[in-house]
Symmetry: C2
Subunit: 387 residues, 2 copies
Amino acid sequence: MAQRHLDPTGPPAGPSPAPGSGRAGGAPTGDALADYLRAQATEFLRALRLHRETGGSSNGTGAGGPEDPVDAARALRRAVRRISGSLHTFRPLLDADWSESVRPELAWLSGTLAMEHAYAARLERLLLALHRLSGAVFPAQAVGASPAAASAVSVRAAGAGRTGTAEPGGLPAAAPAPDRGNLTVGAAKAGALLERQLTLARTRAHSTALQALGSSRFHAVADTVALLASDVPLAPTATTTGLHPLATAARERLTDAVTALPLITAGHPYNAEALIHGLSPDPAPHPQDAPWHQVRLLLRLHRYAREVLDGTDAPVDVRLLAAGQALDRHRDASEAAAAAAQAARTPRIAPATAYALGVLHADQRHEVEAARFAFQQSWQKQAVGTP
Amino acid sequence: MAQRHLDPTGPPAGPSPAPGSGRAGGAPTGDALADYLRAQATEFLRALRLHRETGGSSNGTGAGGPEDPVDAARALRRAVRRISGSLHTFRPLLDADWSESVRPELAWLSGTLAMEHAYAARLERLLLALHRLSGAVFPAQAVGASPAAASAVSVRAAGAGRTGTAEPGGLPAAAPAPDRGNLTVGAAKAGALLERQLTLARTRAHSTALQALGSSRFHAVADTVALLASDVPLAPTATTTGLHPLATAARERLTDAVTALPLITAGHPYNAEALIHGLSPDPAPHPQDAPWHQVRLLLRLHRYAREVLDGTDAPVDVRLLAAGQALDRHRDASEAAAAAAQAARTPRIAPATAYALGVLHADQRHEVEAARFAFQQSWQKQAVGTP
């Protein structure tokens, strides 16, 4: 259990798959996949029920127990990602038509549910960075709080007939919104500008999520998952087909993508690569980040494939987790840097505001570089287990 | 000889001190100090003569042989630093009145001669960084050129009755001024602003240096050093007093100051300490840099003390050199970051200019952090030799 708490997405609250027939008599087959999918579908339904029960009574702290709607939303996203990932990795073992029809719907739901959280976490990251850059001192727990824990995602009343308001709550009390008392004018204005822009984006994402959760499209997904909790549409040969080759293929896609990363450069601290296009005329997101984002997704698929094979009770490889957390940080910093650059393009801002946003952008690009270094360090120690 | 070329200040072009009586019969005494001071005074006079001979014919390339006025100016500064440092470290061995009167004059001369070079190097560093941040590709030799090699210091006609013009040359051909063709508007404007401000500062420093070298104050210093080349005013007990305790004291001042540095933090890559006051309301230079600047000076004094004891022909400790180069880089990046922040306070600049200057400031503050890491790495390997 001690290892379980290292999982950045939180300990799984749902029932683990029973050691079923899939793993009982040798190499795991489609039965193990069915066990896993049933367990994740059950978890999805549990999270959805919790969400309905608690959606209207959010205290906005994000620090509650399993009754917290933030936790419920996170658990929903978590289950959707796992179902979606398993459908991808073990595609040949599943009914092809069913699989092809449900995967885009899960991707839509996962993306929609993630946006409000992402904007909230991005704003928090940028405001904390502004304070750090201003030499302000924070309580350690606020600085150390993970964006996930600080999220105020509150997709309320999902499918429960209630409609929540479109006003997202403030930053949760567990990570207090830093006051701007000791910021310079430029930093304070930059913070206010980012808060305005990202809160607007978050409000829109909140409304979109609410609409999604009340839509017939969502109800169709929920129905599909409810069916999945009892009956997994396996392909005819699935119960006699081993999972190992497909899991191995997922692992190889990961290791191939990692091999293509510039890890030697990343392993040299302060290589100054991440900021190299910091003032490029190209307004698009840094193209150098894309392969890292891709590895992040492949690493997640590999982790889920291992869960299918080993069961969710198996100890989580902490080095794999560390590598994944580094890539999460890479993604978050990359997007935060882009948000700062984007804010700097707002017409008629003061030069002091623009200057602060420039410092902030560069700071987050160095966070990107630091995350690559951290990934390289953890990967070096990492022996990717054979599934 | 191979090791000598690693000296960042260039190989000493003057005569080495003969293995004199100071080192012949055991532990070195004041005689060794006298040998060293005579040699450095001779080098000063040689550099000054070269400067007079070549001062009017500078081709501004900085790439010439010993006839180059840039090299001559560098050799002048080099000799002045060594004389001044030795007077400091071995003060009790020298005539007190003479020593007290000449040291401030040497400090004045050293400071005055260094300014034009510093502004030129700072501008070059910032323009190269702007191009790197814009994703521009440079010829490796231009990027790798040390600021010292690229300096266009040309304190001409020193003491030769000729007065040079107050117009400093352009950046030397060896490190071509990067064109601004592929910069964004913000980066280009930031570059133009920095070029204007730092070229103005450099022009003023050039004029000041010219005035200094034509002044009676300078002629008095030159006369003092000319006397030093033949007659070193030692204290009465100097020839029977060992140098080791004073050199050891210099080493201990260094190691004590290093011990007080935050080396554990500096040894963790991407600790994000250097930028922590990047948006602080305090416009003063980063106070966190001061202890590092102090160690830089103490390291130099330690190196010069070793030269006095071991002779300038002794192999230079490459790790000591690496540590010193890291601290030079620290100082240069610290001052470049301050120049970018200062430029951002220019009234009525465009937001895009301010943004680029903010990115540039943060970039140089990360250079500061990288230099601290490099120092920590070289110091870890460094066993400071007992003199």
